[in-house]
């Protein structure tokens, strides 16, 4: 599957601003073919921003980002990429069916013609366990089903590099297991994966490397096991909990 020895992703000194606020500060990220890299960090640490810069959705203010050795804005490199964005409430107001949505994943920088009847659409829907709901509009699906449609839409591209933004959020345990086993299958076939997560959870043993962001800077890049706590600033919250022996008792103000 790996066409070359060059890194799949190479980000150097990336700075990104959103609405005048600097979100990423001099971020470096290098991902080799076949890796499964988890991007971790607290809310607002810049995980999604980095992910969106990697897939070429957000422009860099300075620094450089390449995919498969080419600039991210080159359309052709995106044909080798499968992207699963966060579940957005911004979806268009005419809901596509699951089949239509997944078929849109077949479009590439060079091929723009309709392929809803392509057998690969059915295969991708079957892979995420939604073969029976192909004709259902995505707005009439549960959050977890919608996430699976978005995953199928990325998988149908047969990507060499799969990029996912919190694929487990709002997803029940059995779907999480399904997604995790899909990831294992993909990495076994040589697919490179970059995934934004809150917690490594059931992927703990599969992740080859964890990159932790804090306030837009990389604070850890290495083994998933020895990473720092995700949100060190919030320890005082635990201290503010009432002592264990107080739980269950009525509160009498002094």
């Amino acid at each position: 599957m790996n066409r070359s020895a060059e890194p799949v992703v190479e980000v150097r000194g990336a700075n990104v601003q959103l609405s005048g606020t600097r979100i990423l500060h001099d971020v470096d990220l290098r991902i080799a073919p076949g890796e499964m890299v988890a991007l971790l960090g607290a809310n607002g640490s810049g995980k999604s921003t980095l992910l969106r810069a990697v897939v070429g959705v957000l422009p860099l203010e300075s620094g450089s980002a390449t995919l498969f050795g080419q600039e991210v804005h080159r359309a052709a490199v995106h044909d080798r990429l499968g992207y699963v964005p966060q579940d957005s409430s911004e979806a268009g107001s005419i809901p596509a069916t699951a089949r239509e949505s997944v078929a849109s994943g077949l479009l590439t920088s060079r091929s723009w013609w309709p392929r809803t009847r392509d057998p690969r659409v059915r295969t991708a829907l079957d892979a995420v366990g939604l073969g029976d709901l192909a004709g259902r509009p995505i707005t009439r699906m549960s959050g977890g089903q919608r996430r699976r449609v978005m995953l199928a839409r990325a998988l149908v591209r047969e990507p060499e590099f799969l990029v996912l933004d919190e694929p487990f959020s709002g997803v029940d345990l059995s779907t999480q297991q399904l997604i995790a086993s899909l990831f294992r299958e993909l990495t076994a076939r040589g697919t490179t994966i970059l995934v934004v997560l809150h917690e490594t959870g059931m992927l703990e043993r599969d992740i080859t490397r964890a990159v932790v962001l804090d306030h837009g800077r990389v604070v850890h890049d290495g083994d998933a096991g020895d990473r720092p706590p995700l949100d060190p600033g919030h320890e005082h919250l635990l201290d503010s909990l009432p002592p264990h022996e107080c739980l269950g008792q009525e509160i009498h103000p002094a």
Binding site: Y83, P85, S104, T108, W112, V171
Partner: protein, 320 residues
């Protein structure tokens, strides 16, 4: 009494009918993409700007002593609405917040420019009435030719590239990450809207052009699911309403634009009622085999919150 044979043999009636069919086919195609992009009012804005174009066409016609005086009105409308479409797309790209303000300025500027410039051209705002509200009497052979060319362009792009256009309007971020030409598609849709406005203006009127783009799509959404089926159903509704509305005005002296738009709204209301009745019936029928999507989403959302709370906690031994 006008017989059906007269309708088919007289150019005076045949031309508007052909244009009505063209409007019915093109307007919902563009409308589907506009509704998808939540830009339903773009057609209205462009209709107003087209009016300034009509007036500029008159002005240029007066300078060049063109006959008839409104020879350049439609080309003027075409130029103005295309420029307006590109301007609004530029504003949309540069700044997401001021889009509706830009659209509002387009509404006011279009009308104001129209009445001022038509006066400069030696006409009165009465000359603009036909373009504002649409009329049957003004369709000429060159008008028909222009309409035909515009309709073919819109249909070839709008239907030929429907997968690409639907992908970009449905999820712009995914489209960008997939290497699709998002910017070009957005410009194409804006220009298609401008062409459709120009094509429809003569019969439906600048003030009501947008209704034929949006209302049939809204009606279709009540009846079918999926993007492609919504578009096809909207096209059928719009063709039937445009043809039916126009035929009514052949027999009863009424403004065609108004009748056509009222017909689409009637279809929308009927579709809404049909859906409400069918929806009620299906709810009282067999129980669904899986939990209601909304309920499940709510359950999952609370699961997500719990997940986030857990993730926000610092790492301690008991978590592993």
């Amino acid at each position: 009494m006008i017989s059906p044979l007269d309708i088919l043999t007289s150019d005076l009636l045949r031309y508007p009918l052909i244009i009505a069919v063209l409007i019915g086919l093109t307007a919902p195609v563009v409308g589907t993409y506009l509704v998808q992009k939540r830009l339903s009012l773009l057609g209205d804005g462009l209709g107003h700007v087209a009016l300034t174009g009509v007036a500029v066409g008159w002005l240029v016609g007066a300078w060049t002593t063109a006959t008839p005086a409104d020879l350049l009105a439609i080309p003027g409308a075409l130029a103005a609405s295309v420029i307006g479409a590109l301007a609004i797309e530029y504003v949309r790209e540069v700044s997401h917040t001021s889009r509706d303000v830009a659209l509002a300025i387009m509404f006011y500027g279009g009308i104001a420019g129209g009445v001022v410039i038509i006066q400069l051209a030696g006409g009165t705002s009465q000359n603009l009435m036909g373009y504002l509200f649409g009329s049957l009497s003004t369709v000429t052979a060159p008008d028909l030719l222009i309409a035909l060319v515009l309709a073919v362009v819109v249909l070839v792009i709008g239907i030929g590239l429907s997968s690409l256009l639907a992908a970009v309007t449905g999820d712009e971020e995914f489209a960008r990450a997939s290497g699709l030409p998002v910017r070009t598609v957005n410009i194409l849709i804006a220009v298609m809207a401008a062409l459709t406005v120009t094509l429809s203006m003569r019969i439906v009127g600048a003030l009501m052009v947008s209704a034929l783009m949006i209302v049939p799509v809204a009606a279709a959404q009540q009846l079918v699911v999926g993007f492609t089926r919504t578009m096809r159903t909207a096209m059928v509704i719009a063709v039937v309403c445009a043809l039916g509305g126009l035929l009514i005005t052949v027999y009863v002296d009424l403004p065609p634009g108004g009748v056509i738009v009222l017909a689409t709204i009637a279809v929308y209301i009927v579709a809404l009622l049909v859906r409400t009745v069918l929806g009620t019936r299906s709810r009282t029928g067999t129980a669904p085999t899986e939990p209601d999507a909304e309920t499940r989403t709510r359950q999952e959302r609370s699961a997500e919150t719990a997940h986030e709370v857990a993730a926000a906690r610092p790492h301690t031994g008991w978590q592993r």
